[in-house]
């Protein structure tokens, strides 16, 4: 007789337990492939510890999703309004089904990732494609559908896909209030467990404390709530969303601050960003038509290992395509930061960085200049908070630490190190005129 549960050691969550059905997903080709996809692309060239993979992150997301589900659907934690909205959660079989779908969706949420994760995804996939779409294709593939069919109870592939990619990336699928909330548990802007796990895990491996927060307390205080009033009228929407009990508010603040610090200190680190750009330039030259394969079999056989092998080969053989860019990575001859957006310049001219990029290209040649403008996008800092007297308030109306968190946005202009000295002098002499042009 096989084991009922399998235990996997994890540096963040100690032990992660999986059952036989989940073991089948773990053993599948799409999931095993994640062992070969770096969570943070080439970040390990800057922070050597950042060599962890999507495999263990996905296990962590499943573990956290499961904990959140147990908390937010516990009968003691449902308000009468939410209980009325989700009678399904009081039927044990239904509750068990959706918990299983959630765990599996959490496991599978990243299986469509390209080699080196997010690096260059946008430019290297055909229009209309992102890793989430490949994730969907894989969830609906015959290989995975066989696994869903063998489970008890059988899982509906569409249910798994909805929760794994969420409403943003599956606008053609219909989400009801329940599937919307459950997908929020994985991918939401504020309390998605994908975000919780990557902050904790990335911090751990990189060796920084920025991404740490009290996730135990936060998860224990998460609740499904109706939104706070917005506007001067008494009427409010009744659409449920993930919020937090007031006792966990500081943990929620800590999560959002952790995210802010990780973006400013790690994810948007200029050297990490320029390595992504060199990698993209390399892939554009070596991939057929400059595009990643979207065929499922091709996707499954293409990992960081294949890309790294090509990089190493090309770096030492100038006759091979992409050799110049490969050398920049392998020999650590990356472009250097010439200019970084500063508030004073931006106030004078919102297009300052782009004008400097254009002028630098004219002065030193397009091939010697690169421009990058990462921004943290989603703004997760408003959510409902359940107060002691059972009223619901906006996180924005409580003590205002969160107000100090600005969206993170950077702009960098890089130049090749061969012309960096000249370019630095040139910028010092010409910056004022360029920005005021």
């Amino acid at each position: 007789m096989g084991k009922i549960f399998h235990e996997i050691r994890d540096p963040i969550h100690a032990f992660i337990k999986i059952d036989d059905d989940e073991r089948a997903v773990l053993d599948s080709r799409p999931f095993q492939r994640l062992r070969c996809i770096h969570q943070l692309a080439l970040t390990y060239l800057v922070y050597p510890g950042a060599s962890h993979k999507r495999f263990e992150h996905s296990l962590g997301v499943m573990e956290l999703a499961s904990r959140v589900f147990d908390i937010v659907t516990h009968p003691n934690n449902l308000t009468p309004q939410i209980r009325e909205l989700f009678p399904i959660l009081e039927i044990p079989e239904k509750r068990a089904y959706w918990k299983k779908v959630l765990r599996i969706a959490a496991l599978c949420h990243d299986i469509g990732h390209l080699p080196f994760s997010h690096a260059a995804e946008k430019e290297l996939l055909p229009d209309g494609w992102g890793h989430e779409r490949i994730t969907r294709e894989l969830i609906f593939s015959s290989e995975m559908c066989r696994i869903w069919d063998n489970m008890t109870p059988h899982l509906n592939a569409e249910d798994v896909a909805k929760l794994a990619v969420g409403q943003r990336k599956a606008p053609d699928l219909t989400f009801d209030d329940l599937t919307a909330i459950l997908s929020e548990i994985i991918v939401s802007d504020a309390f998605g467990v994908d975000r919780m796990d990557y902050l904790l895990r990335d911090s751990h491996h990189i060796g920084v404390a920025y991404g740490k927060f009290d996730h135990y307390r936060l998860i224990d205080t998460l609740r499904i709530l109706q939104p706070p009033p917005s506007g001067s009228e008494e009427e409010r929407s009744k659409e449920p969303t993930l919020g937090v009990e007031v006792g966990g508010y500081q943990s929620a603040e800590a999560l959002l601050l952790a995210r802010y610090f990780m973006f400013t200190q790690v994810y948007f680190h200029p050297v990490r960003r320029i390595y992504d750009i060199h990698l993209k330039d390399f892939l554009l030259e070596i991939l057929p038509d400059g595009k990643y394969p979207i065929d499922i079999e091709d996707h499954l056989s293409f990992t960081d290992h294949e890309v790294l092998a090509s990089l190493r080969k090309a770096a030492h053989d100038t006759s091979l395509p992409g050799s110049e860019h490969a050398g920049r990575i392998i020999k650590r001859q990356h472009y250097k930061r010439l200019y970084e957006r500063i508030p004073a310049d931006f106030q004078k001219n919102p297009l300052a960085a782009q004008l400097i990029k254009d002028a630098a290209e004219s002065a030193f040649g397009k091939e010697n200049v690169r421009y990058d403008n990462p921004s943290s996008k989603e703004e997760p800092i408003e959510f409902p908070v359940l107060m002691k007297d059972k009223s619901i308030e906006s996180s924005r109306s409580l003590p205002q630490t969160l107000l100090q968190i600005s969206p993170v946005k950077m702009e960098y202009v890089f130049v090749s190190r061969e012309c960096w000295d000249d370019a630095s002098r040139w910028l010092s002499d010409n910056k004022h005129d360029i920005i005021n042009s």
């Binding site: 909205l85 706070p228 919102p350 924005r396």
Partner: protein, 181 residues
Amino acid sequence: MDQNEQRTILLGLIKSLRENDSWCGETHIQKAMFSLQKITGIPIDYTFVLYKHGAFSFDLRDELTDMRADHLLSLEIHPAPYGPSLIVSDSGNAFYKKYHGIVRIYDPAIEFVAKNLGGKGVAELERISTALYVCKEEGVWDPDDCAARVNELKPHISIESAKSATLDAVRILRAYKEQCQ
């Protein structure tokens, strides 16, 4: 339409909503922009899905965040329990002034939407935008069918409220057509 033009329209919409007594939280702006696209046909192409409180665009959320990062918008905080409003900053006003000439042609459409939706609260906007979404995106125009579909998608909206919202959405659509004639 380039990003500067699109941002100018967004700034104009927010200014106009505030002039028409809107609370101007993100939800209000989301629904107003959806209506601007679907009712007036302004050539902005934020992709909307049915999500938080009705029609919602993640692209628009990203853009609003980006505009805060660029200091074109800022947050106005209100006492508990209310959520914040978005306001056009001094830099935003300067930006609007610089580019307004290019998109002036859309001022009547922006004013129409702001006048018709500015005074409405989140719950009403949620109902109307969901009804408008079902009419325009799913082609369900019969008020009873539309109300049933809205209730199916958003069970917390009753059939009666959904029907009333459908009639409101159709009335606003007709009013804009009449204004253009």
